[in-house]
């Protein structure tokens, strides 16, 4: 949460809005923000914190753990048309990687703008693939596995 908050200006520059969701109430969100998050990030997290009472929203997104009664860590990238482009779901003890989130957002935005495809490990500036009949069987000519790193 706070890691996303630290990178929030970069996400905003990419035109991304962040929504955080847990099964806690809005009152709990407020106190967590004031008592803890604001001490980790100046001003606290700058995006809305949503209350998913009973995990009903999490259930629809496939992240609600009925035994624990909470939503597990799930992160969804939704494009301007409201279509889910990416999802990542982790069990609770492992946190997510915000740098990878930002890389994926940049890749999805690039694909949306250009119609190109981004190969494994793509970063802005790296070569992309132009899908089409002439590329079939010829990817080896334009892309090597080492380029993923």
């Amino acid at each position: 949460m706070t890691a996303v908050a630290v990178k929030y200006p970069e996400l905003q520059a990419l035109g991304v809005e962040v929504l955080a969701v847990s099964t806690d109430s809005r009152f709990s969100h407020k106190i967590w923000q004031e008592e803890e998050l604001a001490k980790m990030v100046p001003g606290g997290v700058p995006f809305p914190m949503l209350a998913d009472a009973g995990g009903k929203i999490g259930a629809v997104y496939g992240v609600y753990d009925t035994l624990a009664g909470v939503n597990i860590r799930g992160r969804f990238i939704i494009d301007p048309d409201g279509v889910i482009q990416g999802m990542e779901v982790l069990t609770p003890a492992v946190g997510r990687n915000v740098a990878e989130l930002i890389r994926q957002v940049k890749a999805f935005q690039h694909v949306r703008q250009t119609g190109e495809a981004t190969p494994s490990g793509w970063q802005p500036g790296k070569p992309t693939l132009k899908p089409g009949p002439q590329l079939v069987g010829k990817v080896w000519e334009v892309w090597k596995p080492e380029m993923a790193f």
Partner: protein, 118 residues
């Protein structure tokens, strides 16, 4: 006993009268029901949670919402299921819908709970 039941009947009549007055007022001033933009600081605030996919014809169609249809499950390449939730935002409380963000990129992050460690 007789007296108590008389009181009870009177009480019920008053309740019925109030209920009728309320529905009449509700029908007279439909606009007053749309005051959810105001910050809600009561103990309990309702939010619809997952919203059923909107029917194709949005305008003009009568409000026969297919409430029975459950929202589709989230999948990549498919429309993100819409929802409404109470939110703590900008220091205050209000209800937000995912569809409020149409036209923007959105990162939706679920996490196990406030005051957890990761």
């Amino acid at each position: 006993m007789f007296r108590a039941s008389r009181y009870l009947t009177g009480f019920l009549i008053i309740i019925a009268g109030l209920a009728m007055a309320e529905t009449a007022a509700g029908q007279a001033g439909k606009q007053t029901t749309k005051k959810e933009t105001k910050m809600d600081t009561s103990c309990v605030a309702t939010a619809k949670g997952p919203l059923a996919a909107a029917p194709k014809a949005e305008s003009g169609s009568p409000a026969t919402a297919p409430a029975a249809a459950p929202p589709a499950l989230a999948r990549v390449g498919q429309a993100a299921p819409d929802f409404e939730a109470n939110a703590f935002t900008g220091g205050g409380f209000k209800n937000l819908k995912l569809s409020d963000y149409k036209g923007k990129w959105v990162v939706l992050c679920f996490y196990p709970g406030d005051f957890t460690f990761v």
